[in-house]
């Protein structure tokens, strides 16, 4: 039992160190070195006593460690204060916006990985042949087009009279499946288009390495059919890197992707809330979003580690 526990305990310790690091950086950038909040909270004609009181409330006269501790406590208890811009509690803001972002991003994320795995497998299987070269060329082209360009182009193509004019130009008035599909289609296609190049390239390289391994060559020599080899051996043995990639890209795609997609299409998810917090310098929202996503990422990393250990006993 001790042999099992020891590497796990070490991983847990490393994860905790990372949590300290990410929260420390968010704290330093946004709270400690961040702009003075005093005048955001009170008007220009405040008395000296009022200023002193607000500064005291904000904890500006407290020592570093105490203020960092308070930030940690805010994150742990989810007691995140209120938005400077709207006066809404940050916790309600998160509860209102995060579900929208999830239903917005999940279809594109799942499809993006599915298409990437399928194309990568096809490409690796026919390595060097025409279809492989075509897929590779398409991937490089896809990787060379900016996300913003894709968003603008897809909006014009699908949602304006200059194109097909099938979907709403922007917004998010979702009340059921039909309206959901109506609003989610263009963002999903855009996300799919932007990620397929990176995904296909990654999965192709992964599968090519796997196909070259001895046990695959042995299976082939023993007369296993190509589809059995691809599905049973190649795909199954690549599960650990596939899962690692998918898990690791969740926060990046969901947060960074939603930031751009939602601010572009005016969708009231966490991305748009973050965008508004960036433009208005809304510190309580920013520090909550940055701190929580970074901590969530470390947690996901740790869970992935556990999952991969289950799948592949060699990892110990």
């Amino acid at each position: 039992m001790r042999e099992v526990m020891r590497p796990l305990a070490r991983k847990l310790f490393q994860a905790l160190l990372l949590v300290v690091g990410v929260t420390l950086i968010s704290f330093l950038l946004m709270v400690w070195f961040g702009p003075d909040q005093t005048y955001t909270l009170i008007g220009k004609n405040a008395t000296t006593e009022q200023i002193a009181e607000v500064r005291h409330q904000l904890g500006y006269d407290d020592p570093f460690l105490l203020r960092y501790g308070e930030y940690l406590l805010e994150l742990v208890t989810l007691d995140l204060g209120v938005s400077n811009a709207s006066g809404e509690s940050v916790r309600t803001l998160l509860a209102r916006t995060v579900p929208i972002s999830l239903v917005l991003m999940i279809p594109g994320f799942v499809l993006g990985n599915g298409v990437g795995i399928a194309l990568g497998l096809a490409s690796a299987h026919r390595r060097g042949r025409r279809s492989d070269r075509l897929i590779t060329a398409l991937s490089v082209t896809g990787m060379s087009i900016s996300f913003l360009v894709v968003l603008i182009a897809f909006q014009v193509l699908f949602s304006t009279p200059y194109g097909l004019d099938l979907f709403p130009v922007r917004g998010w008035r979702v009340s059921g499946w039909t309206s959901y599909l109506h609003y989610v289609t263009v963002p999903t296609l855009a996300l799919l288009f932007v990620t397929f190049g990176y995904n296909t390239r990654f999965y192709r390289a992964l599968f090519i390495e796997e196909i070259g391994r001895d046990h695959i060559r042995a299976a082939r020599a023993l007369g296993a059919s190509e589809s059995v080899i691809l599905w049973k051996h190649v795909l199954k043995n690549s599960m650990v890197p596939i899962i690692t990639r998918i898990m690791f890209s969740i926060p990046l795609v969901v947060i960074s992707g939603s930031l751009l997609i939602e601010s572009y299409f005016g969708i009231p998810g966490i991305g748009q809330a973050t965008f508004e917090a960036i433009t208005s310098g809304d510190q309580p929202v920013l520090k909550a979003v940055v701190g929580l996503t970074a901590v969530a990422f470390v947690a996901i990393q740790f869970l992935t580690e556990l999952l991969c250990r289950r799948l592949d006993p060699r990892l110990g």
């Binding site: 490393q14 690091g21 946004m30 900016s146 603008i152 601010s263 960036i278 970074a294």
Partner: protein, 280 residues
Amino acid sequence: MGTRRTWAHLKGDRAGLVGLLIVLFFLGVAATVWLGWLGQGWSEASGGRWLTPNADHWFGTNLLGQDIFARSVYSVRTAFEIGLVVALVSTALGAGIGALAGWYADSWIDGSVMWLKGVLDAIPFYLFVAAIAYALQGQWWAMHLAMIATFWTTTARLVRAEAMKLRSHDYVRAAQAMGLTDMRIIWRHVLPNTVHILLVQATIAFVAAIKTEVILSFLGIGVQDGVSWGLMLAESTQEVLAGHFANFIAASAMLFLLVLGFNLLSDAMQDALDPRGGGA
């Protein structure tokens, strides 16, 4: 990995050559802007709004009546300035830190470098830039700083692995036995053997930097004054809904060409410089 063999490999790679030509073409355009020959009138409202392409305005004008050709050409300079600064600094930083971490593998130096890398990799990039932009309150170099602070980690990881391998080579051990200091060995024998990594990483960082600039400028935390393809695209989001596509097409086509050129070049270099010989 002789220079001549590398060049021979690169010459045989048609896609790589096309990439190189594209990059050199854009570098030439950037040079004409630096020399003051092209793109100088990018901020003047020299015509009516949304003029169609004509002899005076080759690509037409934008919603403020500014010449789109001048703006998109001047943006080549902006792209190269951002790309070069970020690529050079982040690659040099990654090389230095990675070599130190690899040389002193499993020491506290290595431990702290890996910890810092883990921390930086854990914060979603755009949020990190937002946090830095917030802390610096709209300094123009906030964007550069954020990219450098995050882009060095990949280079450092690769150089670290290489340095760990080199550490056990005979000639490095011989240099140690001759009493050369660690710093000297790292400078003379470790870093020169990572050039194949650094060249490829620098092109990747260049591409990442100009693509990131576009997104950040759209979000309002990128290029602060001046003009860039990102700012042009941000403008064009207003224009396309009214049916004016010149700004959008000019900026996105030039951005696409330059990024494609660098991607092709980077792939070809990766194949040509791969010490194991064969390309993928």
